[in-house]
């Protein structure tokens, strides 16, 4: 964009969130909050058994309660579409998707088995609580530990799954190595638990068309699902999500509140709202319980001789969910002998689902703790050890990186943290009665771009509206798109409105993979440039136009002016152009697609380095994370304020993963026992101390036109491992299964 300084250059600046006032005043409307006339309420009934058959639903009793309209179950729900493919959403893994209320079979604990609809929420909730259902229980298996030797390589993975590739001869290299380590690393099931409960408000219009306000990260994915399952046209099922109260991957696939509310609305011909309970939020997908083994050996000079990384994670019996858990170990460090393996095993659980940095959060925890163990075995400082094994190219893909400033992340992170004052030996630092430990780790994540479209339209009064069916779940989409649009057309932020989350808008990918900034951002820029081109054409037609003969490259749109780059005093006022043009508005659509040539030539990734300090009370076993420095190379930063918030949130997630978060199953019942927010522990304010975020400058001309790499997932990587390594440094004890509960240290 424009090179000269001006006050409409917003990209890289840190304005407050444009949607912030709506959020801090409570005006922002989330899916379960839309007021529609004659609304009725559905409450979901969940299965208490993990596997078996529903014998009988005794609906009669609750149907006789005043206010109860219907009890929907497999006994009376009309058959929807017949084929699996109708239920397959855009991001479904291989297999046969779960169909709510389809038959009498129970496949997982907390499976939705009925929907009670009543004219008030209170009556629906009461009726659901007393609905009697008989089940025949069958033997279930929910423990991945029982599948240690029964895993298989995933056959049909989901999109984005890459079977890991090996190279050299790792076994032999490790056998001959100077120093060796081999350990197992484990974390249990985790649930996304966004604060907003999954909810859908379906507005049934008099003509039978539906407007569906659904909590989702992809309105188009939901529309596609609803139209295929219920045989509706797109015109009959508009899906809207203006604000998403957190998702972290849980909203990538349509959730069952969508199916149930649409089904009920179509059957009852009424508007319906279905909101899940917090307990039910533990039945919509999770980060899978994963077992990993890491083996490494080093040469006398501290370089890696060989590396083996093997992972086994759970999936459901009906879908083959897969994650790229081990692939990162083949690319983060230089090593010629690498053996990787990834297996899954089916259990009687619901299908796992992508959760913030899926695969990488799991794999990098194991890799980066193992790297620390290896550094200690070789007697090396953990940063020094990583620098000795710095990967200059992507050895798995055999490609150069489009950009990689990880070395700078190590340097700036270490400097800010004061790493050079760290004694190598564990248990060598104290503060009062507490042991102090310093640890570090890092991560790598894909810098992806997807096809996306946007539409820009400027009216005679100089107001610009840009739309794209993208999502906002707190990442800052509204704000950064407004910044890009304003800068591209040289308008003040207040003159620009960016709208999203509506299937009537141009197509955008699901809001995940940290690709929204790159994909939708590029589309927004392109659409605005197309409008700019039209404006320039009009401007050239004006009497005495100083822009006559100028092409788009010769001009810049700044401060409400179109001016010549070479002679900025030669300009026309944008609003005059619009007035003179006589058009009520000037608009353009644009679609941005990734550059396949660059993708074939370069490995595109973001990197980070994390440094953490913990204080451990050895008598009580309590651990406090007192300081974290997270240094990231993410290409261009569009808005340091919202980007920093994403990293701060990621660090909180990392602290949570390291010390608190785990869904505990009682395998006798095949049931999650802590499915609520008082027993599923996540950090609160008192758990969080100093967090420093450093964005290392990084220019990347190849990754996408904006040069951005995304940050929502990368920031989490390395955090849990750095804390784990710091706990070892403090105590001399290595805990290899997360979270590090107090009792594991005592």
């Amino acid at each position: 964009m424009s090179t000269s300084s001006s006050n409409t250059n917003y990209v890289g600046k840190a304005p407050n969130r444009v949607e912030g006032p709506a959020k801090v005043t409570g005006a922002a409307k989330y899916s379960g909050e839309f007021e529609v006339p004659d609304l009725v309420y559905g409450v979901v009934v969940s299965s208490p058994i993990a596997k078996g058959k529903i014998l009988k639903i005794h609906a009669d009793k609750v149907l006789s309660l005043p206010g109860v309209l219907q009890v929907f179950s497999h006994e009376n729900v009309p058959h929807q579409a017949w084929f699996d493919r109708n239920y397959k959403d855009d991001v479904a893994p291989g297999g046969s998707p779960f169909r709510p209320l389809h038959d009498d079979e129970v496949k997982f604990s907390q499976q939705p088995v009925a929907l009670v609809v009543a004219d008030t929420f209170e009556v629906a909730r009461y009726a659901a609580s007393i609905l009697e259902i008989e089940y025949k229980e069958e033997k279930h298996e929910t423990d991945i530990e029982s599948q240690r030797d029964k895993g298989h390589a995933p056959s049909k993975g989901k999109s984005g799954y890459k079977p890991p590739s090996s190279r050299g001869n790792a076994a032999k290299a490790i056998e001959k190595a100077e120093h060796r380590i081999r350990h197992e690393y484990i974390h249990g099931t985790q649930h996304h638990n966004p604060m907003e409960l999954y909810a859908s408000t379906v507005h049934y219009h008099p003509d039978g068309k539906l407007t569906i306000y659904d909590k989702t990260q992809g309105v188009l994915n939901c529309q596609q699902y609803v139209t295929k399952v219920f045989g509706l046209s797109k015109d009959e099922a508009r899906v809207i999500n203006l604000y998403n109260g957190g998702a972290f991957g849980s909203g990538l696939r349509p959730q069952y509140e969508l199916f149930l509310s649409v089904m009920a609305a179509l059957e009852l011909r009424r508007s319906v709202r279905v909101t899940l309970t917090r307990q039910q939020m533990f039945s919509i997908g999770h980060r899978p319980h994963t077992l990993q083994t890491l083996e490494m050996g080093t040469n006398p000079d501290g370089t890696l001789a060989g590396l083996k990384h093997y992972a086994l994670h759970e999936t459901s019996r009906f879908e083959e969910y897969t994650e790229n858990v081990v692939n990162w170990s083949g690319m983060l460090y230089q090593c010629d002998n690498v053996q990787l393996g990834n297996q899954v095993a089916a259990l009687d659980v619901y299908t796992p689902q992508d959760m913030r940095a899926p695969g990488a959060a799991t794999g990098s925890f194991a890799l980066e703790v193992a790297m620390d163990e290896m550094a200690y075995a070789a007697g090396l400082d953990p940063v020094d050890f990583r620098l000795r094994n710095y990967a200059e190219t992507d050895q798995s893909e055999k490609l150069p990186f489009s950009s990689k400033r990880l070395r700078e992340c190590y340097r700036q992170g270490a400097e800010k943290f004061g790493w050079d004052r760290r004694p190598l030996k564990p248990r060598s630092m104290r503060e009062g009665n507490k042991l102090v430990g310093w640890g570090m780790a890092g991560g790598v994540w894909d810098a992806q771009m997807q096809k996306a479209a946007a539409k820009a339209s400027i009216t005679a009064d100089g107001k610009l509206t840009v739309t794209s069916a993208a999502g906002e779940n707190g990442t800052g989409t509204y704000t950064i798109m407004t910044q890009i649009a304003a800068e591209t057309l040289g308008l003040p932020l207040e003159a620009v409105t960016f709208k999203l989350g509506d299937t009537d808008m141009p197509e955008a990918p699901v809001q995940g993979g940290s690709w929204t900034a790159a994909s939708v951002g590029t589309a927004v820029q392109k659409a605005c440039l197309a409008v700019a081109d039209k404006l320039l054409k009009q401007a050239k037609k004006m009497d005495d136009s100083p822009l006559k003969g100028a092409d788009l490259e010769d001009v810049e749109f700044v401060n409400g002016l179109i001016r010549l780059r070479k002679a900025p005093e030669q300009s026309v006022v944008l609003r005059d152009v619009l007035q003179v043009s006589g058009e009520r508005q000037i608009e353009a659509d644009s679609t941005a697609i990734p550059n396949l040539l660059n993708m074939a030539r370069y490995s595109m990734h973001s990197h980070n380095a994390v440094f953490a300090e913990v204080q451990v009370d050895e008598e009580l076993g309590t651990i406090h994370v007192t300081r974290v420095v997270n240094a990231l190379a993410i290409g261009r930063v569009l808005n340091p304020k919202t980007a920093r918030s994403q990293v701060l949130g990621s660090v909180v997630w990392g602290i949570s993963m390291a010390l608190m978060e785990e869904t505990v199953t009682d395998h006798r019942f095949g049931r999650y026992m802590n499915h609520n927010l008082s027993e599923y522990h996540v950090p609160t304010n008192a758990d969080i101390r100093d967090i420093d975020v450093i964005f290392v400058e990084e220019e990347d001309p190849y990754v996408n036109p904006l040069g951005v790499k995304g940050v929502g997932e990368l920031g989490l990587l390395g955090v849990a491992a750095a804390i784990n390594n710091a706990v070892f440094h403090a105590t001399g004890k290595r805990v290899r299964d997360l979270p590090i509960y107090i009792d594991k240290l005592l």
Binding site: G20, T120, N685, I688
Partner: protein, 177 residues
């Protein structure tokens, strides 16, 4: 295998729900008469009957703080009280603190410090912060952290929340001096 049967409906005669009646609540300085059943929580009364959806539901069990409102100046979890019990109390929700264009100092501070991401926990955080200021307890950063810990933020905006609350607490202390 065994047969399981759920629910408490062993007694053959189900008790029908108690019908709705009129309850008058004083919300944000205004009397609102709502037609609600006696078992309606204050949270549901606000969200589903009074059209005040700024107050959020994150758990319905008093575990998350999303539903925090001020009752007679004190912060409470509105999911843990029945609306009918609050007749005669002075209820303040996020909508009563300030509006767009006329932000309350806490709302402005949350905006300036980017003390949220998705915004879902935010109304509860802000009401809780106002409650904490009313209590006059929090002075240091550690006290604020501790006293704001009834409000979970899954987006992890705690650093911003601390700084926002601190700024307003400090400003109020300075003006009192």
């Amino acid at each position: 295998m065994s047969t399981v049967s759920t629910s408490s409906a062993a007694d053959d005669q189900l008790r029908p729900p108690v019908p709705p009646s009129s309850v008058t609540l004083r919300i944000n300085g205004e009397d609102r008469t709502l037609h609600i059943a006696p078992w309606t929580t204050l949270l549901d009364a606000l969200r589903e009957y009074a059209g005040l959806t700024g107050t959020k539901k994150g758990c319905d069990h008093g575990q998350c703080g999303s539903c925090t409102v001020l009752v007679d100046g004190k912060r409470i979890n509105s999911c843990l009280t029945l609306a009918a019990l609050q007749e005669g109390s002075d209820i303040t929700t996020i909508e009563g603190l300030g509006q767009e264009g006329q932000l309350h100092p806490l709302q402005q501070a949350f905006l300036d410090h980017d003390a949220f991401q998705c915004g879902y926990c935010t109304p509860g955080q802000i009401c809780s912060a106002q409650g904490l200021i009313n209590e006059g307890k929090a002075r240091t950063e550690d006290e604020i952290r501790e006293l704001m810990s009834g409000n979970i933020c899954r987006c992890g905006a705690y650093v911003g929340i601390l700084n926002a609350v601190k700024e307003v607490v400090d400003a109020q202390q300075a003006s009192r001096r």
